[in-house]
């Protein structure tokens, strides 16, 4: 029988690999424990335990190295047929804040990772301030020549405004 602390650690570790966000980014949302609780409360415990056992093996072996962990996760966690789609549901939970057709909480919406991935902010919260939208986002990578030319067809875009 596992303790909840052990389960939580495995959930946190695999969340890093499943989302592509680093441990401190996830911790900073304040949602690690609330989401762990959702997963525990919304699924049969044996299914969660089986999932977390596999997750722990992967995390123990690869740490937070996505490239090395990729194939194991793809084969052992991601397939819909395994664990009732739990891996995908956990990713959705982190990115969008919902479990099934329900938003978990106001905070889960506000902390949705999709807004960070998009260099945006959740509409209606974390407002970036007057006129901020006139400039590129503060955290956006500087445009690279490669990024600007990669889709070139009829229109030369090298001189695109930035």
């Amino acid at each position: 029988m596992e303790t909840n602390e052990q389960r939580l650690a495995a959930f946190y570790g695999i969340s890093v690999l499943l989302t592509g966000f680093n441990p401190m980014e996830l911790w900073g949302t304040g949602m690690v424990e609330p989401y762990f609780n959702v997963v525990m409360n919304q699924n049969p415990i044996p299914v969660v335990d089986a999932f977390l056992d596999t997750a722990r093996t992967i995390v123990d072996r690869f740490g937070d190295n996505y490239e090395r962990a990729h194939d194991s996760i793809a084969e052992q966690l991601m397939p819909d047929s395994l664990y009732g789609g739990l891996a995908q549901n956990i990713i959705t939970l982190w990115y969008m804040g919902n479990w099934g057709n329900e938003m978990v909480s106001a905070q889960s919406y506000i902390q949705g990772l999709v807004w960070d991935a998009a260099y945006a902010h959740p509409p209606g919260a974390k407002q970036p301030g007057y006129g901020s939208w006139h400039n590129p986002p503060l955290n956006a990578p500087a445009p690279t020549p490669a990024a600007q030319t990669k889709k070139k067809k009829a229109m030369p875009m090298e001189e695109a405004h930035h």
Binding site: V114, Y130, K152
Partner: protein
């Protein structure tokens, strides 16, 4: 029965009702305002207002489908239209009765509005372009629709008043497009109360791209190259006060007997009186902040959620106007749903408004009362106004009540830009393409305005949620998922071509005793379709869009289907979806003659001397402007007429 007789009874606390109430009470008239929605929503006390509004915001956060009405209570006894109820109307589903509207079709009406304190201004986007001079004479110029009984020159002073009332931010100098010159449309010296809301980074990326297209491979219409233009959109949200703006208030001048734009008087909310600015004292326009704290919301903070809710109330809403009414002369009755106007069969005057007051939103018991005034104003929305009039056999000698229901038909197009423009930031739209707002082509097909959208593909595809689920469907996870989303979402571009729908008498609101709400009021029955005039605009706009996407290297993801949106039409072998714009217009139009219109140029019903109608229902045609500004100007014209009438 009421034992108080008011000067004016107003039905509805949306923008028309609130601006009317403010203007009349400030002129010393006693006003009763009836509102169908919940009492909590109209709380002008600071704490109550704050907590109620935070409750809206919290509801919004928790909703999965963040549609325009999602933050606000849907009250069984005063239901609101919900866009989530829209269904295709088929042989087996006719009429569609899901939700509040009874949709008789053949196409479902695609827009909603909010029945509740503040009305639809709680979830409006806030775009406030004026109509064009051409828009007022569609029949004369293009042999389509009908002329207005007023010209642009007639409404122009009231546009200025409306722009002060709403608090418009914009650049007059940069307004351009067909039928627009600074001198003709605005006057050489006119400025908006606030400086323009900065255009988005996305706007600038897109404009740069289109400028290149214009130069190197311009789009062609009928074989001729056309230069696509841009203009920053005036908006009813707070920015930086314009130091050149001279006006302080819209005031009833009892000497001149007219509403005037004042430069030296301002309304003191605490003391309920006008004060005069001391000579030599410098005046600067002061943005109006939130209703719970004047220091909050004096500037837009970039919440990117104007629709459905501005968390800081930097965007105008009607309750800001109501807060400036002379509270000594204002009585508000909430949870009070107007059901009928009562008419004296001999004099044809209205003798009262019958309304039903419910105790809680879903109670089946209610109390029926009659409100009495010298003058009555229905300002309950185009659909509700028509419904009340039809239920009362009122104002309908022309048989035009409920007819000519219109909306802007939005043809959405979306694609991926070749560069990152970072949408999902800033107000919903800060720039528009005005190029097809007017022209000779209006003889053949609708004009349109084309806002450049700042919120990615959220409207057509429910992005970015759909981007996450699409990636997951391909089993993409981890760093690859993050990178995919970081690459594609910032390149999302959405345009929507808002096409003008012509007045059609068969597009209409009717009532049917078979369809009622829980307290016995009628549910609106909607008959709705579009004609080849609008469909041809879809064809032309889509062709222009396809050329632009191709020349601009914008990867096209636009897809139309009945499955994705029941407002699906075919034209010349191609299918198009259109979405409603929330611009519900035209059910009791004004006109030159009582034969073909419901109200005269003063918004007074031809049939009942003491009954006025306010709201978008008065508009004979739609033009290509978001209608709220025009409707507010018409409301101020009506307030002017009512004050003149009460004087006599």
């Amino acid at each position: 029965m009421e034992n108080v007789e008011y000067d004016v009874v107003i039905v509805g606390s949306g923008i028309a009702g609130c601006v009317m109430a403010k203007t009349l009470t400030q002129a010393g008239k006693r006003v009763l305002l009836l509102e169908a929605g919940l009492t909590a929503g109209i709380n002008l006390d600071r704490n109550g207002n704050f907590y109620n509004y935070q409750d809206y915001l919290n509801t919004y956060y928790n909703e999965m489908a963040k549609v325009p009405n999602s933050p606000y209570p849907d009250i069984p006894d005063a239901p609101s239209i919900d866009v989530l109820d829209i269904q295709a109307i088929s042989g087996a589903n006719s009429p569609s009765t899901k939700g509040y509207l009874v949709q008789a079709g053949p196409l479902p009406f695609g827009s909603d509005c909010l029945r509740g304190p503040g009305g639809t201004t709680l979830h409006w986007l806030g775009s406030t372009p004026r109509m064009l001079p051409d828009d007022f004479k569609m029949k004369t110029l293009y042999d389509r629709g009908i002329d207005w009984p007023i010209s642009y020159e007639d409404i122009k002073p009231f546009y200025e008043m409306a722009e002060l009332e709403i608090g418009v931010a914009g650049s007059v100098a940069e307004q351009n497009g067909p039928d627009v010159t600074r001198k003709k449309n605005y006057g050489q010296d006119y400025v908006f109360p606030m400086e323009m809301i900065p255009q988005s980074y996305l706007d600038h990326q897109f404009i740069d791209l289109v400028v290149k297209v214009n130069k190197e491979k311009p789009v062609k219409v009928n074989g001729k190259p056309v230069e696509i233009g841009f203009t920053p959109t005036p908006q009813g949200r707070n920015s930086v006060p314009n130091k050149q703006y001279p006006y302080t208030a819209v005031v009833w001048d009892s000497g001149k007997e007219e509403l005037v734009m004042e430069k030296s008087k301002y309304w003191d909310k605490k003391e309920n009186t006008y004060k005069t600015i001391a000579k030599g004292e410098k005046y600067e326009y002061r943005p109006i902040g939130s209703n719970w704290d004047p220091n909050t919301g004096q500037r837009c903070e970039g919440n990117s959620s104007c629709v459905p809710i501005c968390p800081v109330q930097a965007k105008y809403n009607a309750l800001k106007s109501l807060a400036q009414a002379d509270q000594r002369h204002l009585t508000v009755k909430t949870q009070s749903v107007a059901s009928r106007v009562l008419i004296d069969p001999n004099t044809k005057e209205v003798t009262g408004v019958e309304y039903k007051t419910y105790a809680v939103g879903d109670s089946l018991v209610y109390e029926t009362n009659i409100a009495k005034g010298k003058i009555y104003v229905l300002a309950a929305s185009a659909i509700e106004n028509a419904k009340i009039l039809l239920a009362s056999n009122a104002a309908n000698s022309s048989d035009q009540v409920g007819r000519n229901l219109m909306d802007h038909l939005c043809l959405l197009t979306w694609g991926l830009l070749p560069m990152k423009a970072y949408p999902y930031r800033g107000p919903g739209s800060t720039t528009n393409i005005p190029t097809w707002r007017s022209g000779e082509f209006r003889k053949e097909h609708s004009a349109w305005i084309c806002p450049v959208d700042n919120w990615g593909w959220a409207w057509p595809t429910f992005a970015p949620g759909s981007d996450v689920s699409n990636a997951l469907a391909k089993n993409i996870f981890g760093k690859e998922l993050r990178a995919t989303l970081s690459d594609t979402i910032p390149r999302q571009l959405l345009l929507h071509y808002e096409c003008e729908q012509l007045p059609d008498p068969e597009n209409r609101v009717t009532i049917d005793p078979a369809y009622r709400d829980p307290i016995g009021n009628y549910r609106p029955v909607i008959h709705y379709n579009v004609t080849d005039y609008e469909k041809k605009a879809f064809e032309v706009a889509k062709d222009i869009n396809d050329q632009l996407f191709e020349a601009g290297d914008i990867e096209d993801f636009t897809a139309y289907s009945l499955e994705s949106n029941p407002d699906f039409v075919g034209y010349k072998g191609k299918g198009y979806n259109f979405s409603g714009a929330g611009h519900i217009v035209g059910t009791h139009r004004m006109g030159k003659s009582k034969k073909d219109s419901v109200v005269n140029r003063h918004s007074q019903t031809w049939d009942h001397e003491n009954l006025y109608l306010a709201g978008c229902g008065n508009m004979p045609t739609l033009g290509t402007s978001n209608p709220t500004l025009t409707m507010t100007a018409l409301t101020l014209m009506a307030a002017d007429a009512i004050l003149k009438k009460l004087k006599n």
